[in-house]
């Protein structure tokens, strides 16, 4: 469904010089839940922005449904729901106005749009604050509304970049449940998260990023087979490259890409 072929992205940092935030990542992602894990500055957000066509790869290709996203970013965006810690909502709008505005960019008939808005209001319990200005909403309410906004067009590709950041425990739990409920046939959900239990429970596939490189690509259970998944991921994120390779060979991992690179981050 979504294929990455040697995707690279660098940027210039005055302190560090040229930084390879994403360094030659290749993967073929099929519908299901793909968890993306990595330390801060590993390149997760840059990779997700590349997938969302907000950034353009320096080299390599990203192909969605047979269409190169560099050639036709609009085709991907028409099937995309993108939510990150930096996607904010219009503070002068009310919740319902925002949902109508967001839905207006997708080819939905007015009646269908209203039906979906009603469904989103029920799913995410937005009714209490739907007519309030967004500027006055709490962080949890905002994130629920933001997720509703993301799911409104029923996207085939759902990219969630650390959606639980800043949420209290119940809100984070509710949001994770909502993401799990968003699974459907033909939908690829890419979830960047630090919540390892959630990865273990929901993800069909785990990608571990270190310094812009993919150091693990496979089912979470395979990585955690020798112990806890959290310990295994921690080991991957802290190991030297040689140790990483050995560990992955020992675990019989699906696929691994190693090698040292400059400090990455975005």
């Amino acid at each position: 469904m979504l294929a990455l072929d040697q995707v690279c992205k660098s940027f210039y940092d005055p302190g560090r010089g040229e930084v390879k935030a994403v360094d030659g990542i290749s993967a073929n992602l099929e519908p299901g839940v793909v968890a993306l894990v990595g330390a801060n500055g590993a390149g997760k957000s840059t990779l997700l922005r590349l997938l969302a066509t907000l950034l353009v790869p320096d080299s390599g290709r990203i192909v969605m449904g047979g269409v190169d996203t560099r050639r036709d970013p609009g085709a991907l965006r028409a099937r995309l729901g993108y939510l990150s810690t930096t996607t904010r909502l219009y503070p002068r709008f009310s919740g319902v106005e925002l949902l109508r505005y967001a839905g207006g960019f997708f080819p939905l008939a007015p009646a269908e749009l209203e039906r979906r808005i009603t469904a989103m209001v029920e799913t995410f319990r937005l009714g209490d604050f739907l007519d309030q200005r967004i500027a006055g909403l709490s962080t949890g309410q905002l994130q629920r509304l933001n997720l509703a906004r993301t799911l409104l067009p029923d996207p085939d590709l759902l990219i969630l970049d650390e959606p639980t950041t800043g949420l209290d425990l119940p809100s984070a739990h509710a949001l994770v449940e909502a993401v799990r409920a968003a699974r459907r046939p033909g939908r690829l959900i890419i979830l960047a998260t630090h919540l390892v239990p959630e990865v273990e429970r929901s993800a069909d596939r785990l990608l571990v990023l270190r310094r812009g490189r993919l150091v693990y690509d496979g089912h979470p259970s395979r990585l955690g087979s020798g112990g806890t998944l959290e310990a295994a991921i921690l080991g991957l994120l802290q190991d030297s490259d040689a140790a990483t390779s050995e560990r992955m060979v020992a675990a019989g991992v699906h696929r691994a890409v190693g090698g040292d690179g400059p400090e990455a981050g975005a």
Binding site: K9, S10, Y12, D13, E18, L54, Y82, F93
Partner: protein
């Protein structure tokens, strides 16, 4: 372009703007309230000032029977106005309210009258003496005596609380009855009501003069009509409204343009910089629509806000004139309204039609500039100068006599404003100028929209925090920028050279008293402050690596030797070219320019006198060697290489290096040496050997001076010099300055 998406963005942004209190205040409330509130304020101030005017200027009339001619009725003054136009202007102030007294006539007691008479006679005598005095010490003494007499008179006036006095001179001064009656008009010109007082005195004297004339003529049995062989009556054929409109023709378009620019100011801030600041830009860009649709949607909102602001301002102005005009101009409010009405619907429609492309252009520029900023505050810093530029460009219409022409039509703001001015002034429509200027505005708008869409396309637009601050904001992601672009380097060069010539002129030793320090400053300050510092400052602001951006790297050891080797050959080359050019000019009869050469000799002489040969070498060899190399082979060459490639960059940098010396006669030798220095910098990967060569060349020229050198044919000398130079710079190792990567277009 998907128009549905454009409209969707337009509607959303319009709603957002209408819910923003700040924009509402600036674009709606302020235009609506500013004129009525301003009028009310001025009315209050006017009334307060009127209330203060209870003390009329006091005027004393001494020894003449002139008191009756003050505070005369409007009828008397009207007769005066027709026949004596000059007096009309003087008494204009007095005509405003002829029914009320304008001055207070004072009767002085005998002692005060005597004192005033004496002082005014002394002052009048001193003034006559001063007028007649020849220039020179005697004249100065006479004028000083006059000043003293006037000061004494003024002291008397102020002690008596008088603003002015009309004092008759003794009749003894008249040799015959036909001699004019002589009066001295003394006045305190520093009095707050001096204008009214002057006008009143002038009108009174004119009426009195007329009366005396009539009496004398009657006594002689002559009809007063004899002295009026010509009577003129000014009749203004044009309606007052039209006449005023023609006078306001330059002001109206200027105001409209400023209103449009101000109207676009806050929407532009809010819609781009504000959206980024609120963090909604990433959300917007993740939705399935093109960047062009986003920009056009926002552009339409900005234009609508600007037009609304203009309409509201005009409406407010009209209402204010209708409500308060009569209060200001004593019944002139109807006239003011007539002026507004006389503009007419058709002309107003034309104004809007002509201003619309200009508004689009202004809105596009405002939005694009705001797009460069990370925050509202930064965007304000970019947009405020825009308002100033717009005001200046439109202010051309205020200059008397400016009319549209084909060249001015192409100037974006000036062209439409002048076309509108002409249309308002003449009543007709200057179609050619209007179309041309509109086309120019549309062209600018299209270019700016194209640029702005590219701006939105760039990743740095959405994620400015990921792109470094300072000059780095203009860079793209992907490749490390080792040097500025060619355009940026040219900008640095332009600033440096502009400063260099300005400071050199300001410090020209010819303008100052001779001083060793000033002589040194005249040479050193332009070099260090204007050539070296801008290049260093630019590299620092952009945080460019000094190695690649300025070529300040350690060269291979052999490069030093090669640079030293090249020094004599460089001098031979430049001297030979110089000699060849002299021969050529002598053969063709062209006179050699001597001014610069003489100036250089004088500089040598002054520096030599100030500090001897070491100082000359530092100022003429070392400093230019460092400063000119950092600018021309450092900033300029590295930037030009990045954009234009090595060969073009070497030639262009040498050309600009030669231009820097400001001498057409020295251009060819400087260009040749510039090429050699640029190649040396490229081949050695550093500008340091070039500094040695440059400084060595200059030092050798200074040391050899006018010494008699072996006679050799300049052509042969040139050959030797060029071969030596080529050998020196060409045989230096293969190490090169890493070629700065060209800007990579990462757009899809």
């Amino acid at each position: 372009m998907n128009l549905r998406h454009v409209f969707h963005v337009f509607r959303k942004d319009a709603v957002e703007l209408l819910r923003d209190r700040r924009t509402l205040f600036v674009n709606v409330l302020l235009p609506v309230l500013i004129y009525p509130l301003g009028a009310l304020f001025f009315l209050q101030v006017h009334q307060l000032v009127e209330a203060q005017k209870k003390e009329l200027p006091r005027i004393a009339v001494v020894d003449v029977d002139a008191a009756a001619w003050f505070n005369r009725s409007a009828g008397d003054l009207a007769e005066l106005r027709i026949d004596e136009p000059r007096q009309r202007a003087l008494s204009a102030g007095a005509l405003a309210k002829p029914e009320t007294p304008r001055v207070e006539l004072v009767v002085l007691d005998a002692a005060a009258a005597a004192e005033l008479r004496a002082r005014s006679a002394a002052a009048a005598a001193a003034q006559r003496a001063g007028d007649a005095a020849e220039p020179g010490p005697d004249g100065v003494a006479v004028r000083r005596a006059g000043d003293a007499a006037r000061a004494a008179l003024l002291a008397v006036l102020r002690r008596l609380h008088l603003a002015a006095a009309v004092v008759g001179e003794p009749t003894a001064l008249r040799s015959a009855a036909e001699e004019p009656l002589r009066v001295v008009v003394v006045s305190d010109d520093a009095h707050p009501e001096s204008l009214v007082m002057d006008a009143e005195i002038a009108a009174a004297l004119a009426l009195w003069r007329r009366d005396l004339q009539t009496r004398r003529l009657a006594a002689a049995g002559i009809s007063p009509a004899v002295l009026r062989p010509l009577s003129s009556l000014p009749v203004d054929a044009a309606p007052v409204a039209e006449s005023v409109r023609a006078k306001l023709a330059g002001v109206i378009p200027l105001l409209l343009v400023i209103m449009a620019a101000s109207g676009a100011f806050f929407p532009a801030l809010d819609l781009i910089a504000g959206e980024r600041e609120r963090g909604t830009l990433e959300t917007l860009l993740s939705w399935p629509m093109g960047r062009r649709e986003i920009f056009v949607g926002k552009l339409l909102v900005t234009c609508a806000a600007a037009v609304a602001s203009v309409v509201l301002t005009l409406g407010s102005l009209g209402v204010t004139v209708a409500l308060f005009g009569s209060r200001f101009a004593g019944g002139g409010g109807g006239e003011g309204m007539a002026v507004l009405l006389s503009i007419g619907g058709g002309t107003l429609a034309l104004c809007f039609a002509a201003l619309l492309p200009l508004t689009v252009c202004l809105a596009a520029v405002s939005l694009a500039l705001a797009g460069l900023a990370n925050s509202n505050k930064e965007a304000q810093n970019y947009l405020t100068p825009l308002i100033l530029v717009v005001t200046m460009a439109a202010g051309v219409a205020l200059l008397p006599g400016t009319r549209p022409n084909l060249a001015l039509d192409l100037v974006p703001i000036t062209g439409p404003v002048l076309a509108l001015k002409e249309s308002l002034r003449a009543g007709g429509v200057p179609w050619l100028h209007l179309l041309l200027s509109t086309a120019a505005s549309v062209a600018v708008a299209v270019v700016v929209v194209g640029w702005a869409v590219r701006l939105l396309d760039s990743e740095a637009f959405c994620y400015p925090g990921l792109v470094r601050a300072g000059w780095g904001r203009f860079r793209r992601w992907g490749t490390s920028p080792p040097a500025p672009s060619g355009l940026e380097a040219m900008g640095v060069y332009a600033v440096a050279v502009g400063l260099f010539f300005a400071v050199s002129l300001a410090l020209d030793p010819g303008q100052w008293q001779p001083s060793a320090l000033r002589d040194i400053a005249a040479v050193a300050v332009p070099l260090v402050a204007c050539l070296l510092l801008p290049a260093l400052l630019h590299a620092w602001l952009g945080a460019y690596p000094l190695r690649s951006a300025l070529g300040l790297a350690r060269p291979p050891a052999v490069a030093w030797a090669r640079a030293v080797f090249c020094i004599p050959f460089a001098l031979i080359t430049s001297v030979a070219i110089d000699a060849l050019l002299r021969r050529l000019m002598e053969n063709t009869g062209v006179e050699l320019p001597r001014g610069l050469e003489d100036g250089l000799r004088q500089t040598f002489a002054r520096l030599d006198a100030a500090g001897g040969m070491p100082l000359v070498l530092v100022c003429i060899a070392v400093l230019p060697g460092i400063c000119e190399e950092v600018l021309c082979r450092g900033a300029l060459l590295s930037g030009l290489r990045r954009s234009l490639g090595t060969t073009t960059a070497v030639l262009l940098s040498a050309f600009l290096f030669a231009l820097l010396h400001g001498s057409p006669f020295r251009f060819v030798p400087q260009f040749t040496i510039g090429v050699a220095l640029a190649i040396l910098a490229v081949r050695s990967g550093s500008i340091l050997p070039g500094m040695v060569l440059h400084a060595g060349h200059n030092a050798l020229a200074v040391l050899l001076g006018d010494r008699h050198l072996p006679e050799i044919h300049p052509g042969l000398a040139l050959g030797i010099g060029l071969i030596g130079l080529a050998a020196g710079i060409g045989l230096i190792g293969r190490r090169r300055l890493p070629s700065p990567a060209p800007a990579v277009d990462t757009r899809p």
